[in-house]
Structure formats: C-alpha cells, structure tokens
C-alpha cells in the first residue's frame, strides 16, 4: 500500500518536474519500517531511511547534499519562566508557542548551516528553530526568543529534538542512507518524513512521506478505554487496587500465619 502510494507520488512528482529543467533530480526513497508500533516493552526504535537519486542527465559538477527530517505531531505549548519573588522561585512570565513538534530530528550530509542557505531554510522550515512556530509573544515579554531556545534546550536534553550533522551517508552522489533514533518517550501520530536534495545551499528536489507511530495491543486497548469509557476504566483501576491490597493481606496471613 505504502509502496503504491510512493510510486504514485513519484509519478506525480515526475509529471511536475519534467516540463522544468532538464537537470531535474528526484528522490527514490525507502524506509526500514513505514510504521512504528508502541508495545508495552517499547524502548525506542531506529529507523533506517535510505534511497537513491534518479536523474536523466549526467551528475552535475557541484557537490550534492542530502537532508533528512522527521517530525512528530505538532501542538501548541506554553513555556514558563521562573523568577525570584519574595525569596522563592515562582513561574512569572509565560510564552505561548503556536506549534511545536513533539519530536524533531534533522540529519544532513554535512553541517546543516553549511549545506543549506538561510533563505531555503526559511522556505522549507528545516532547522530546529524554524520547525517551531511562534508568532505572537506577549508584549510584556521582551525576550521571547529565549523561551523558544529554552523549549529546544529542554526537548534536546530528552532526546526529542536532534540535529544530526554529518549523519547522512551519501555514495557516488546517488545512494544515501541515514539512521534516525526514535526515543522511547514517543507520542502517537503521523511522523512527517522529508528528504531534501541541496546543491550550493539551494534545495533542488524534495520528497515527503509519513511514518505512522501507533500504540498497539494492550497499550492501544487501555488508551482507548481510558478515553471512551472513563467510568469503566476508573472502576477497573479501583478494582485492581482493592484486589491487590486484599490479595497481599490474605497472602501474608496464610504464609506467615499471623496478623
């Protein structure tokens, strides 16, 4: 299914690019897995993103660069800052960030800042700070930029935001591969995966697909139940708690013959 969609996409991209420059290059991509299942013992997953560059003409002189990005579902977040008030540290200022991905990794053949021009980065929103969208910071907060930096810092520390320089392996200007580590604390959703081909800082081709991250089995069951039948779920949790308490009490009495 995924493969068929991919083929269609390629055909579509082909149709779009053909009338343009004759030197067009396209990405043909593969994934080690097109979906990630979160099971009870899920401890993160490595995804191998690989592919080839298809071209009708000879390889251009200029060096080719490949950039791979993987982005988790985005949501608005609030970043708060603590300040000292009356001797204790309290949350004072807050900045609403309109949209921040729950996970973002960007890998490139070289240093991201060197393989991609500022303009192209702005256009395609490739680097981490640009993947986060922050439009209106309250006027009272003078240094809204620092809140975005804090968001990146905190998420990077948890392995949720990663800039992986020199981590795409490109051979013969044609075959590329990169491995991206998805950490254990993933959220569910469609993970948008993009591949950019760049020459001299300009993006010459791009390709996009989706990695589906889903909870399965027990995880799925409990999550759905908690949201669809909260009363039943609550009662189940309660029953488990009481049964465990009673069970341990009874067990200890029998085993130790006391109490």
């Amino acid at each position: 299914m995924i493969r068929r969609v991919a083929t269609l996409l390629i055909a579509f991209a082909l149709a779009m690019t053909l009338p343009r420059a004759a030197a067009a290059e396209e990405v043909v991509m593969g994934l080690s897995q097109s979906s990630v299942s979160i099971t009870t013992n899920f401890a993160g997953s490595d995804i191998l993103i690989f592919g080839a560059i298809k071209r009708e003409t000879a390889i251009p002189e200029e060096e080719l660069d490949v950039i791979v990005t993987v982005a988790g579902p985005s949501a608005p977040v609030t970043v708060r800052r603590k300040d000292r008030m009356l001797g204790i540290w309290v949350n004072t200022e807050a900045v609403q960030i309109d949209s921040a991905p729950s996970f973002y990794a960007v890998a490139a053949t070289g240093k991201l800042g060197e393989v991609l021009s500022q303009t192209e980065d702005l256009r395609h929103r490739i680097s981490i700070p640009l993947a986060i969208r922050s439009v209106g910071a309250p006027d009272a907060v003078g240094d809204a930029q620092r809140f975005t930096e804090a968001l990146i810092r905190i998420h990077s520390a948890k392995g949720l935001y990663e800039q992986l320089d020199d981590s795409v392996d490109l051979q013969e200007q044609t075959l590329f591969r990169s491995s991206i580590r998805l950490p254990a604390n993933l959220t569910e959703g469609a993970y948008r995966t993009r591949i950019f081909l760049a020459r001299g800082g300009e993006v010459v081709a791009k390709y996009e697909t989706i990695i589906d991250v889903r909870k399965v089995g027990l995880e799925r069951l409990l999550y759905t139940m908690a949201h669809r039948q909260p009363v039943l779920y609550g009662l189940m949790a309660l029953a488990l708690a009481i049964a465990a308490g009673w069970g341990a009490s009874a067990f200890f009495r029998v085993v130790l013959r006391q109490g």
């Binding site: 899920f42 609030t78 800052r81 009363v231």
Partner: protein, 309 residues
C-alpha cells in the same frame, strides 16, 4: 526492563517502579499514612507528567491502604464510626479540592501552590509531632516506667461544641463537628496534592480529638481508602490521567511493603513511631523548601497550552 506507559506516554524502568512502590508501601504500613506525600514527588522526579502522577498515585494509595487496613481490622484497631464521620467530610472536601485544582491549573501556578501546601503542612505538623514525641520519650526515661497513657486533653474547644456522639472504640464522647471539619480539610488536600492526607489526619486525631494512637492509624486508613478511591474516579472521568500500567507496578510493590510495614509498626512503641514519622515528614518538607529557595538549574518549564497563560 523498560515499560511504555500508555497514558503517561513515557517509558520507564519497571523494577524502579516496583521498588518505589515497595518503599512507600513499607512506610505506609508502619505509620498509617497513604504515602502519597512521598510518592507524588518521587513520580515527578522520575519524569512522569504531574497530572498523571497525581491521579495514578491514588491507585497505589488505595491498594496499600486496603492492605494495611485489613491488617488493622484483624487487630480491631479501627474506629468505624469515627471513620464514617471523617469520610462524610472527606467526600465534600474532595469535590471542593478538584474545583480549586482546576482553578489553579488555569492560572499556571499549580506547581507552586502544591509545593507551598506541602512545605507549610509538612513543616508545621512535622515540628509539632517531633517536639511532642521527644517530650514523651524524655518523660518516659525520667519515670523509668512505661509512658503514662496520654491523658485526655483538657476540656478545650473541641469538647464544648454541640451534637455529641459516643465513639466507643476510641473511648471518646465528643461533638461530630471537629471530625467533619478535619475530614473536609483532608479531602481538599487529597484532590490538590495527590495525597491520602494521613499525615494531616493522624496528628489531628491524636492532638485535636484526643484519640488513642493505637486506633488512629487503622481509622485513618479506613477514611483514606474511600476518599482516595473517590478522587481517583474523579481524575479518571474528568482528566483521563490514571495510568493503569503505572498503577499496577506501583501497587504490586506497595502492597507487599505495606504488609511488612504493618508488622514492623506493631513492634515499635507509639512515641518511637511518631518521632520517626515526624522526621520523615520534616525531611520531605526540607527538600521541597530548598527547591523553592535555591535557584533552579532550569528556569524554564514546558506545559501544554491547555493550562495556558
């Protein structure tokens, strides 16, 4: 062994959770406190989102309380009547507490308020208990014999209120108003702080109501079970933040710990028990106070936009 928690959406080590549950359960059984005042901050520390930690901590409190309560019931150290009165107040308080909690969440100050609550309550109660137990132990040393049973308080305000009821197990004849008020207060704390409230109720019963220490623990557990179960249902229905997998791991360790704790508890003298509890309460209080006073290493924190500015 890593385990992915479906509601918390984080992956944690299962043995760590079992151990955490065990330690908290042990203390719970020894002192008749639910252990929530330790469990909730510990869960924050290992990276469970606060809302999930508060809600799920309750399952563990219910389980270890049931376990310890049954042990007390067999020794007939539970005042059911007093428990019922406290419980009535507790239900009202829990409902109020959830309202307050949601209001604070909207202000973005929930963390601060919860911490301040902890520092103030733990600090006051811990110090009072510590001083009182120390005096009791000194007195016992001086007389050389066993401590004279704590004599009933003088006729303070508790004894002049109307609607008097006889609590046979506790050997008390007092108005039901103070226990109802204590119940309401504890109910509010349960919802806001994600604790059973035993650490407030146990001293309140000893010092305000003048109940015998022996009966206090079982009775406190009785009330905790119901109020926490009620709070857990509220959280499950309104916020969907109860994580069953996290809960099961914590309570497996917790119930075993509680059984062992209850057995250690009966071997210790009442004032030794109280002084240990007082030290524990003060230690947690000191840790939290330091967090407020010292400059945090990370000044920024991330919240979901739901509780936005």
């Amino acid at each position: 062994m890593q385990m992915y928690l479906p509601i918390a959406e984080v992956s944690v080590n299962a043995y760590l959770l079992l151990g955490l549950g065990g330690i908290v359960g042990l203390l719970s059984g020894m002192f008749g406190v639910g252990g929530g005042f330790l469990m909730t901050p510990l869960l924050f520390f290992i990276g469970i989102p606060p809302a999930v930690a508060v809600a799920t901590g309750t399952t563990q409190i219910v389980a270890s309380s049931v376990s310890a309560f049954l042990a007390h019931l067999r020794r007939k150290t539970v005042d059911m009547k007093m428990g019922g009165v406290l419980l009535g107040g507790g239900m009202v308080g829990a409902g109020l507490g959830v309202l307050v909690f949601n209001y604070l969440k909207a202000l973005g100050q929930v963390d601060l308020m919860v911490t301040l609550f902890y520092v103030v309550f733990l600090g006051t109660i811990g110090s009072l208990m510590f001083i009182e137990s120390l005096t009791a132990i000194r007195r016992a040393r001086r007389t050389g014999g066993p401590v004279a049973p704590v004599k009933r308080r003088h006729r303070n305000w508790v004894h002049i209120l109307p609607i008097k009821v006889r609590f046979r197990t506790s050997g008390l004849y007092i108005s039901i108003i103070p226990p109802v008020i204590i119940g309401i207060g504890v109910g509010i704390l349960t919802a806001i702080m994600g604790v059973g409230g035993g650490f407030i109720m146990v001293p309140a019963m000893i010092y305000l109501l003048g109940m015998p220490t022996k009966v206090v623990i079982g009775t406190s557990l009785f009330q905790i079970i119901f109020v926490t179960a009620f709070t857990m249902m509220l959280h499950a229905v309104t916020n969907q933040t109860v994580d069953v997998i996290l809960g099961v791991l914590l309570l497996l360790g917790g119930v075993i710990g509680a059984q062992i704790g209850a057995r250690i508890g009966v071997k210790l003298k009442a004032e030794q028990l109280r002084i240990l509890l007082a030290l524990l309460v003060l230690a947690v209080c000191g840790k939290l106070a330091l967090d407020l006073l010292l400059m945090p290493s990370e000044l920024y924190s991330i919240g979901d936009a739901g509780g936005g500015a």
